[in-house]
């Protein structure tokens, strides 16, 4: 750990924590704090493969499938290493799973999937979905998704999730059978609620706002980072030209030749080193992207709250107006403008029987309305309770993960600087032999 007795900034013992180690720390944290599912089984997305097949419109298509491996935890710890259970899934099946979870657990901040298409790429990185680097990063992202779900207190015990991991065949049908698609809120409905809700919980309004800000700032950061990576690539690669020219120059010199030649090699090494550096940084970008997409999930929960609140308000409003109508009928006064009132004025009063029937209908409606309001109130309250619990959990997770990400970024920068120091010291030695 930190150096003792030194007056300068203490030398940190282990700055050589690699990004993959820090990612491991993340996973271990998930497992430690994890749920019963993770304590039972190990989950990993081990491989990716290309497949070709006929799609829905009977056309040939190429797609990638991912191998999900599960292994009971106690078996591994016993020292025996049984073959894990495994099955292949493609990205669209992950999407289906997630959509199911979104609908079924609207009060949960559902972990996001890695991006469908490569975005925020700097030019040397391929934006092609079939590119092996992209596929690899997606594999890691999908594994991360599964681990997140498996460590979520509510989502991890879901049966559909469990069968996603264990039942290769017929899983899709099972999902559709749940009828979750019918339960999904239409976008229009949700948008309507957002605009019209009168009294949303302040905390949720703030969270939604936070989600907006988070999304905006992370997008900006990813854009800027990608551009900077592009430029940095240029700087390093141009140094490769030094290598070439030094080598050519050394051919015409006598005493200077050796120094130049070897310095040239170091320049080539310097130019080549940028590829690894930027690959590591891509990893950092992926960590940021996860939370970019998490912001969306967060906002979805807030929107659901707005919807439930709005529906409660609507029901309450409806109830109030029905009660008012009853009162009017009972006292004969028309306080509010109504078509019925107008027509009765124009065409004469209704008969007592008619009035009787109307009142009865209203009473029923009011009863039902009161039930509905009670229901919706409970719904709303429960939603607020569960959602807020998960939001707090999410906040803690986010703070922890992003802090880790920043630390791993610093570690990357340190590693890059150390490499630079080494190369230029070597070059300096060669130059001094010129």
């Amino acid at each position: 750990m930190a150096d003792s007795g030194s007056e300068e900034i203490a030398v940190i013992g282990n700055t050589d924590l690699t990004p993959s180690e820090s990612e491991n720390n993340l996973k271990n944290t998930m497992v430690e704090k994890g749920t019963s599912l993770l304590k039972m089984m190990e989950i990993s997305v081990a491989e990716a493969e290309k497949r070709t097949g006929k799609n829905a419109v009977n056309m040939q298509e190429t797609y990638t499938v991912y191998l999900i491996e599960t292994r009971p935890v106690d078996a591994a710890s016993e020292g025996t290493n049984p073959v894990p259970d495994s099955l292949w899934r493609r990205y669209s099946e992950f999407e289906l799973l997630r959509n199911y979870l979104l609908v079924t657990y609207p009060f949960s901040v559902v972990p996001p999937l890695p991006e469908k298409r490569a975005e925020f790429v700097w030019h040397k990185l391929s934006a092609d979905n079939m590119d092996p680097d992209f596929v690899e990063r997606r594999r890691v992202g999908l594994e991360n998704f599964l681990l997140r779900v498996a460590s979520h207190p509510d989502l991890s015990s879901d049966k559909i999730f469990y069968s996603f991991l264990t039942e290769e065949n017929g899983w899709k049908e099972t999902v559709f059978e749940t009828g979750f698609q019918a339960k999904a809120d239409s976008r229009l409905k949700a948008l309507n609620a957002t605009f019209r809700v009168k009294n949303p919980d302040k905390r949720f309004a703030e969270m939604k706002h936070y989600g907006d800000e988070l999304q905006s700032v992370i997008s900006q950061l990813l854009r800027v980072r990608a551009r900077a990576a592009d430029r940095l690539y240029g700087v390093y690669k141009v140094h490769g030209n030094y290598g070439r020219v030094f080598s050519e120059w050394s051919a015409i010199e006598k005493e200077m030749g050796d120094g130049l030649q070897s310095a040239g090699h170091h320049m080539d090494a310097y130019a080549a080193s940028v590829d690894d550096i930027l690959e590591e940084e891509e990893h950092y970008a992926d960590q940021l992207k996860e939370y970019l997409f998490y912001a969306d999930a967060l906002r979805a929960v807030c929107r659901k709250h707005e919807l439930t609140q709005y529906e409660l308000e609507m029901a309450a409003q409806d109830l109030t107006s029905k009660k008012q109508q009853r009162e009017e009928l009972a006292t004969g006064t028309i306080r509010t403008f109504s078509l019925k009132g107008m027509t009765s004025k124009l065409f004469g009063q209704e008969t007592p029987e008619q009035r009787e029937a109307k009142v009865k209908m209203l009473e029923t409606q009011i009863e039902e309305g009161e039930e509905l309001v009670k229901e919706r109130n409970t719904e709303c309250e429960e939603f607020v309770k569960s959602a807020w619990v998960d939001i707090e959990r999410f906040k803690e997770q986010k703070d922890h993960d992003l802090r880790e990400a920043l630390i791993s970024y610093a570690i990357m920068q340190i590693s890059m600087c150390k490499k630079g120091i080494q190369v230029w010291n070597n070059a300096k030695e060669c130059f001094s032999k010129m």
Partner: protein, 433 residues
């Protein structure tokens, strides 16, 4: 320590000369070499064909010659600085002058300190004079006349500063050169009051005689040289190749500077973005602000690094690229001297009249040629040594600065890491070890 001497005894009419081959690299030994000569100071030539081979071998000047060689590396006895650019506005033009300060213990200077103001034209004049006097010696290049971009750029601060540094290097190279530093023109340049300099400039060969020399030079060039010694051909080939390499390096370095600047532009936006983010966060606000600070500090270091490249490496590479033009000119002039000699040899063989005068001319031409060849050979070795030293130290310097840059950035990030870890331990959070 190698001295620069051309060992030759020449006087008109004496056809036998003892001219050893290039002895640069041999240590000057006062006892052995009796017939050391000091180069004449008032020769004025354009192509060497009117080179006045009469030597002035005053004891004083000979002693000075020895002194230069001994003191070359141990004690400099002349220090020249160029600084303090100032702008002068007259009715006709605006121009910049630079202050030239000389401090010296040399006896041929009337005083030990001089301060004069000189403009670029004056430097050009000095260079021209030195080249005329010593056609096959290598004069360090001057910064270019104007920037390609346009006349307005002449008064740009960076341009003036770059030029000032180059002029400073130019004068120092002259001062370090064993032959040039004892040039009368050099002395006048360093010491004369403005009026004096102007009138001194007006002396020298008249316009017509200069024309005559130029014509002879062109004629010689057209004739071409027939039996160029192998070593000069090799020199020419080297110069060609070197010229390509050095100008490549110049371009590569300029490209690096451009890319770094663009990288810097993007990086400058990163810090503020992290800072912006920190405003939306609570727990994360501190680390985000810290990261923003680190990125900003690295930006400053990157800016510094770019400036270093611009101020240190690029000017040196650029100067040596200009040197190659000088080298090519020197080789051309040497060729012309040889062509002249060859022409005169032929003339003697074919013509019948004026054989005595022609023989005289031929002898003079032969002397001139020997002189020129040896001068070039010695100065070539000297130049190569200088080039090696200059470029080596420029690259070593660059490498050192780059190491420095990375070390500073490293410290920035390590202190961030340190603060994060002590924070974590303080809060009893996850253990990072």
């Amino acid at each position: 320590m190698s001295g620069f001497v051309v060992d030759s005894t020449v006087s008109s009419g004496n056809s036998s000369v003892a001219i050893p081959t290039d002895i640069s690299g041999q240590i000057l030994d006062l006892d052995e070499d009796d017939d050391l000569e000091v180069f004449s100071k008032d020769t004025t030539v354009t192509d060497g064909s009117s080179f006045n081979a009469s030597m002035q071998t005053s004891p004083a000047s000979m002693i000075n010659q020895y002194k230069f060689e001994e003191d070359a590396e141990d004690t400099k006895d002349i220090f020249v600085t160029v600084d303090n650019p100032e702008s002068h506005v007259t009715a006709i033009e605006t121009y910049i002058t630079y202050r030239v300060v000389t401090k010296t213990t040399r006896s041929e200077f009337d005083s030990s300190e001089f301060e004069v103001r000189r403009r670029y034209q004056d430097f050009l004049w000095l260079k021209g004079r030195l080249e005329e006097a010593h056609p096959t010696l290598i004069v360090h290049p001057l910064p270019e006349k104007f920037v390609v971009k346009g006349m307005v750029e002449r008064f740009n601060e960076d341009f003036i500063e770059t030029r000032r540094r180059a002029l400073h290097r130019f004068l120092n190279k002259i001062a370090e050169h064993p032959i040039f530093s004892s040039s009368e023109d050099f002395k006048i340049f360093l010491t004369a009051a403005p009026g004096e300099l102007t009138s001194y400039k007006k002396q020298g060969p008249g316009f017509l005689s200069r024309m005559g020399e130029t014509v002879k030079a062109v004629a010689a060039a057209v004739r071409g040289v027939r039996n160029r010694p192998q070593e000069f051909t090799e020199m020419q080939e080297y110069v060609e190749a070197f010229s390509q390499k050095i100008s490549s390096l110049d371009k590569v370095t300029q490209r690096i500077v451009r890319e770094q600047k663009e990288y810097l532009e993007e990086l400058k936006e990163c810090g503020p973005t992290y800072a912006l983010w920190s405003q939306s966060e609570e727990e994360l606000a501190e680390p985000l602000k810290d990261v923003a600070g680190c990125v900003d500090r690295c930006c400053k270091e990157t800016e510094e690094q770019v400036k270093n490249l611009n101020d240190n490496l690029i000017p040196v590479l650029h100067e040596y690229a200009l040197c190659t033009d000088t080298l090519k000119a020197v080789l051309r002039r040497r060729d012309n001297i040889q062509a002249d000699f060859e022409a005169k040899t032929e003339a003697l063989a074919t013509k019948k009249a004026d054989r005595d005068t022609m023989r005289d001319d031929l002898d003079k031409a032969e002397d001139r040629l020997e002189w020129a060849n040896n001068a070039l050979k010695s100065d070539w070795t000297r130049w190569q040594k200088d080039m090696r030293t200059d470029l080596r130290s420029a690259f070593v310097d660059t490498a050192e600065r780059n190491v420095n840059y990375y070390e500073k950035c490293l410290a920035v990030w390590e202190s961030f890491l340190h603060s994060q870890r002590t924070d974590a331990e303080g809060n009893g959070n996850v253990d990072f070890s």
